[in-house]
């Protein structure tokens, strides 16, 4: 039971990561209609800059800020140079052009930082473990991530539901052209929104650094998981991204932890390990397939005026 609870928290923490990555992805898609494969590159930029700045200043939080700011700036540059030309193109062009960005970004990062993974750690007071409930000891850093994720989720909700910017975002996702006709500077709104999505990806990358190795191509793993999240949640829905992310995080973590053991109850250990490993790495995709069969447009389908 202790193990189960721990794994549940691990799943929640993975879900929070995925939420940060997919929230930006889904916002950008919902409003601008752009599939941005290079979103994972922003995650990578956040992690690399955070590693470098942490190394240079010795402060994890300055590093975190560095990663976030860098990802935001790189994101806005990306929007200005390439993405803004893709708004009126079909999905195929968007996929290919942003794939080109990935190739470029990965090589650039490899040229600057090399191909050996970087490591940096969180400050000491976040590195320990505490007893959250009697008998359950859990790393503080992972709790910190869950807390940040929860704060971002609440913050996003407040921004989208309560502010003028949020109103524009909601209006834009329903009918982009109408918002433009009503006198909103669409290209400026898109630039800022893209930067905002990049900031979220950068935040996720910078926080992921101490847990996973910071290396070239790290963003693409997250990107594909974020796609699964977005497909499950419904493209364009931030609420869907939150639910989808936590679902994927929990299913993936619990699957890896328990599927081999469950199989062992009725199979011989060797084949249970083999099949279990395969099955647990496939679990989230199976989850996606099941949800797709039941709800082809995701759990929270977004209705738009565009086709």
């Amino acid at each position: 039971m202790t193990l189960f609870f721990e794994q549940l928290l691990n799943g929640l923490q993975l879900g929070v990561f995925l939420f940060l990555v997919s929230a930006g992805l889904t916002l950008i898609f919902g409003i601008m209609g752009v599939i941005n494969l290079a979103h994972g590159s922003l995650f990578m930029v956040g992690a690399f800059l955070a590693a470098t700045v942490t190394e240079a200043t010795g402060s994890f939080f300055i590093g975190l800020a560095g990663g976030i700011v860098a990802a935001g700036l790189v994101g806005m540059l990306m929007e200005y140079l390439v993405i803004q030309h893709l708004y009126h193109r079909d999905h195929l062009d968007q996929v290919l052009a942003t794939f080109g960005i990935i190739l470029f970004a990965n090589e650039l990062v490899a040229m600057i930082w090399g191909r050996t993974p970087l490591f940096y750690s969180a400050p000491d007071y976040l590195n320990g473990s505490i007893e959250i409930i009697p008998g359950i000891i859990y790393p503080v850093y992972r709790l910190f991530i869950i807390a940040v994720g929860a704060a971002v989720a609440v913050g996003l909700y407040l921004i989208i539901a309560r502010t003028r910017a949020g109103m524009l975002i909601r209006a834009g996702s329903t009918n982009r052209d109408m918002v433009g006709v009503l006198g909103v500077n669409i290209s400026q709104l898109f630039l800022l929104l893209f930067g905002f999505g990049a900031v979220l990806a950068g935040l996720a990358g910078a926080m992921a650094g101490p847990l996973i190795s910071v290396e070239v191509g790290m963003g693409e793993q997250q990107l594909i998981l974020a796609f699964v999240v977005v497909v499950i949640g419904g493209i364009g829905s931030v609420r869907g991204a939150l639910v989808g992310a936590i679902l994927v995080g929990v299913v993936d973590t619990l699957g890896r932890a328990f599927i081999p053991d469950i199989l062992k109850t009725f199979m011989d250990p060797a084949s249970a390990d083999g099949i279990g490993a395969g099955l647990s790495s496939m679990s989230i995709y199976i989850l996606m397939a099941i949800i797709l069969v039941l709800k082809p447009n995701g759990l929270f389908p977004v209705v738009t005026a565009r086709h």
């Binding site: 390439v82 290919l96 090589e107 594909i224 797709l292």
Partner: protein, 334 residues
């Protein structure tokens, strides 16, 4: 097809047939392997073009079927070498058995995954095809018996074919070329047939086709399965070429590469994918060399830093690909 284009196609076919002799005469036999690779990827890109270019289905997971085909050959060969069995099947080294098996199994995968993916459309379709390909990637990584991450080396060498030594590079090149020419002929018939017309009409306006009483999903699924089977064949050939199979076959960038080949050559054209495959693989081979020549040897392994922006520029400014530069204004549906 007008007579001029038939002539060009015939010229290229003759060139492709003469290529091993030309390379041997030039003393560059080792390039026959590279030429075979181009032919195999052309086959895979052409199969993708059927659904991408003619059907308008943006599949970002086509490498999945390429990989399944390759793994069928790899696993069959592994069991012959190992003397073990899989589901009671002792494995095979015979091309006459392994290739049809690869085609069938990758076709079945395409049937199942296609039926799921085609429930969606647009951006969902792109993401979900990518996700399922990634699922297969992780599945192959978890196959400890077949080397996991490292893959399977085919210690028995290439598959055998009665009367022909596939271990001979030239002979193997011709086998691959025969498949490519065969599939090209099939494609040219297919896209002009009723089936092809319905498929192309679905790309233009699926709602209209449905309103006309056509079960569009069924047509698209058939195209998806054909494309998957042929990609599986290409994968099986590539496994034979390299005598090696690994999860790398299904890496998501492979799907991207195949897509780039189609776009680079000319989407929705018969010969575009062949041109694209040649252009892409030649760039991959010679961009590093070019870097070295201009004194940027350090950049050699970073050729993608140039290729990425090239791709972006092509997408933004040259939508018809190389094909439209050669044959003006002939691209289908654009």
């Amino acid at each position: 097809m007008n007579s001029g284009r038939v002539l060009i196609a015939a010229l290229f076919t003759i060139l492709a047939i003469a290529l091993p002799y030309l390379l041997t005469a030039a003393g560059e036999e080792y390039l026959i392997g590279s030429a075979t690779r181009i032919v195999i990827y052309a086959l895979a890109a052409m199969s993708l073009n059927l659904i991408l270019g003619y059907g308008g289905m943006i599949s970002f997971g086509h490498a999945a079927y390429f990989g399944v085909g390759a793994y069928v050959v790899g696993i069959a060969s592994f069991h012959v070498f190992d003397g073990s069995t899989i589901f009671g099947f002792a494995g095979t080294d015979a091309a006459l058995l392994s290739l049809p098996l690869a085609i069938t199994i990758s076709g079945l995968f395409a049937l199942v995954l296609g039926a799921l993916c085609l429930r969606t459309s647009g951006a969902y379709f792109i993401m979900i095809t990518l996700a399922f390909a990634q699922m297969l990637f992780f599945l192959f990584v978890s196959l400890e018996q077949y080397g996991g991450d490292d893959g399977v080396i085919m210690y028995n060498g290439r598959n055998t074919l009665p009367g022909l030594d596939l271990g001979n590079d030239t002979a193997f090149y011709y086998v691959c070329l025969a498949f490519l020419i065969g599939f090209s002929l099939l494609m040219s018939r297919l896209i002009q047939s009723r089936f092809g017309r319905v498929l192309r009409a679905c790309k233009q306006n699926e709602d209209r086709m449905r309103a006309l009483g056509c079960n569009t999903t069924q047509y698209k699924l058939v195209a998806f399965v054909i494309a998957g089977s042929v990609a599986g064949l290409a994968g099986a050939l590539n496994a034979n070429l390299t005598e090696f199979v690994s999860p790398d076959y299904v890496h998501w960038t492979k799907s991207g590469d195949l897509m780039i080949m189609v776009i680079l050559g000319g989407i929705g054209t018969l010969t575009g994918p062949i041109i694209g495959s040649a252009a892409f693989l030649l760039l991959e081979e010679f961009l590093p060399v070019a870097f070295e020549t201009v004194g940027l040897a350090d950049w050699k392994e970073h050729w993608r830093i140039v290729f990425g922006p090239i791709l972006i520029v092509i997408v933004l400014f040259a939508r018809g690909g190389i094909h439209s530069l050669i044959v003006r204004g002939q691209t289908d549906g654009r």
